[in-house]
């Protein structure tokens, strides 16, 4: 007669530990930064050694600069109007309406112009670079470039990052000008204020130190936007889903790092250019 073997009682071992996801997250986090550092090193080495990809750089300057100009100018214009409306209301409450031109000038040039330009470019250019390079990666076009004895870090990454670094300050100036014009115009519609009077009052007592560092700090934004987008694009895996993820991550991580960098840069500028 067949007998049924008694069930062996074993102590249940936990299949899933609470610490595992945390360890994996930390491991992925540090691995990501490590990979980013290696990627940046490859890009720097490729960028400083000949041959230089002038033709591709010029194409990217156009792609990042000229094609972002309308969007950046529009964003700057909107910000100028918003600051104008808010500032007039707030300053009126405290009886400081005479401070309006300076408030607008300093708000636009020191604070809003740079960050708005950075975020707009991060959205437009970061997503574009991330998706373009990711698409090239998953269709083996980047491998084909490398197989043709062409350094993809030089051709694809260095040119795009350099274009972002060079174009961000210029785009910021465009956003600033646009914001000041619309801000003045919004004020002039309510109360007569000549443009000459607005500029003279707004920039009264101002030094280059007040405006140049906030404008040129956006070169760092350009580095962040270009670097993150190229890095995300060139390490993509997994077809169309991977391309979408690279584009999204380029914008999200780029924008986040940009805001964090702004915190550091503002403090740095206040210390170095008091």
């Amino acid at each position: 007669m067949a007998t049924i073997a008694p069930a062996v009682k074993t102590r249940a071992t936990p299949v899933f530990s609470i610490a595992d996801p945390a360890i994996k997250f930390l491991s992925d986090f540090f691995e990501w930064f490590g990979d980013l550092g290696i990627f940046f090193w490859h890009v720097i080495r490729a960028a400083v050694t000949p041959p230089y990809e002038w033709r591709e750089l010029i194409r990217q300057l156009d792609e990042v600069g000229s094609k972002s100009l309308p969007l950046v100018a529009l964003a700057g214009a909107a910000v100028g109007v918003v600051i104008s409306l808010e500032a007039r209301y707030s300053l009126s409450r405290f009886g400081a309406k005479s401070m309006f031109p300076a408030t607008l000038v300093y708000s636009v040039i020191q604070v809003m112009g740079p960050i708005i330009t950075g975020l707009v470019v991060s959205g437009r250019v970061g997503a574009g670079i991330g998706a373009e390079l990711a698409s090239m990666k998953v269709t083996e076009q980047i491998d084909a470039i490398e197989a043709s004895a062409i350094n993809p870090y030089r051709l694809l990454a260095a040119t795009r990052i350099l274009a972002c670094i060079l174009m961000l300050p210029l785009l910021t100036i465009a956003a600033d000008v646009s914001g000041l014009l619309t801000g003045w115009f919004a004020q002039a519609l309510v109360e007569p204020l000549s443009f000459h009077q607005f500029i003279e009052s707004g920039f009264h007592g101002a030094t280059f130190n007040a405006f140049l560092p906030p404008t040129f700090k956006t070169a760092v934004y350009g580095l962040i936007i270009g670097l993150i987008a190229c890095f995300q694009g060139m390490r993509t895996r997994g077809g169309a889903e991977g391309v979408g993820r690279a584009a999204t991550n380029s914008v999200v991580i780029g924008s986040l790092f940009l805001i964090l960098a702004d915190v550091v840069l503002v403090k740095f500028i206040l210390v170095v250019f008091p």
């Binding site: 041959p51 076009q141 084909a144 490398e146 197989a147 043709s148 004895a149 062409i150 350094n151």
Partner: protein, 262 residues
């Protein structure tokens, strides 16, 4: 139905001394995570010789090609091209070796923002700076004519068929007059007529250019037509290496199963 065994091999057999190694793969291991793809594989390809690498999907055939052109690095073992071990080579030296190699990717990997002619001229633009734009276009036109694509210079890759893309990819691979040609599934996804056209084209190019070639393929008939030697891979290693007759007369069960199913 025509099978691989009905068609005689069109490649001359090479003597051992002709095989002065263009490519030498020695005891190479390669894993991706826990997935062991190549398991101590060794292969040699001589100048003017064509080796067809056969095997089931996932046996590491394409990985082998990527190792040979330096797009991936082996976990252990060595890959040498013209006697130079690729491990630890500087970027400049690796580039110099890559200029001697042409690579046809499985899906052609044409640059989708460039025209057909620009795709072929792309390596020339970067490595033949002495050539003017018109000279590069002229050379691209010649190469495209060689692969039967002379009427498609200004078309975009998305406007041509898969077989035509393979031809353009082949023309691009030939742009720098390579001494080694690496072909990853040149007939995959093509109809039988297009496949034989590609085979005949490869055969013609090999005869004219006298290159060492490594062809990764599932297509046994194609391998028989274009290769002077075949290597059958299974579980990351070579099961058998020789000419087509050697495979036919092998008593290894896997070889017979592969021949029957192909």
């Amino acid at each position: 139905m025509v099978t691989a065994t009905d068609i005689p091999s069109q490649q001359p057999k090479l003597e051992a001394e002709d095989r002065a190694s263009a490519v030498a793969v020695e005891n190479v291991h390669k894993s991706f995570g826990v997935n062991k793809v190549l398991n101590g594989i060794s292969l040699h390809v001589g100048r003017g010789e064509t080796l067809a690498v056969l095997g089931r999907s996932g046996t590491g055939k394409s990985v082998l090609l990527r190792l040979i052109i330096g797009l991936s690095q082996p976990d252990s073992g060595s890959v040498s091209v013209f006697g130079e071990d690729l491990a630890g080579l500087s970027i400049d030296k690796l580039s110099a070796i890559r200029k001697k190699m042409g690579f046809l990717f499985q899906h052609a990997a044409l640059y989708d923002s460039l025209t057909v002619a620009e795709n072929v001229a792309f390596p020339l633009q970067h490595h033949r700076s002495e050539m003017s734009k018109s000279e590069r276009r002229q050379r691209a036109a010649e190469l495209l004519a060689e692969v039967g694509m002379d009427g498609s210079l200004d078309k975009m890759p998305s406007d041509i068929s898969g077989g035509m893309q393979k031809r353009v990819g082949l023309a691009r691979a030939l742009a720098l007059d390579p001494e080694i040609l690496l072909l990853d599934e040149p007939t995959a996804g093509l109809d039988p007529i297009s496949s034989r056209e590609i085979d005949n084209l490869i055969l013609k190019l090999q005869r004219e250019h006298q290159m060492a070639s490594i062809v990764v393929t599932h297509d046994l008939l194609s391998a028989k037509i274009i290769a002077s030697r075949l290597a059958l891979l299974d579980k990351g290693n070579v099961v058998i290496e020789g000419n087509f007759e050697d495979l036919e007369h092998s008593d290894i069960a896997f070889v017979q199963q592969f021949l029957k199913q192909s």
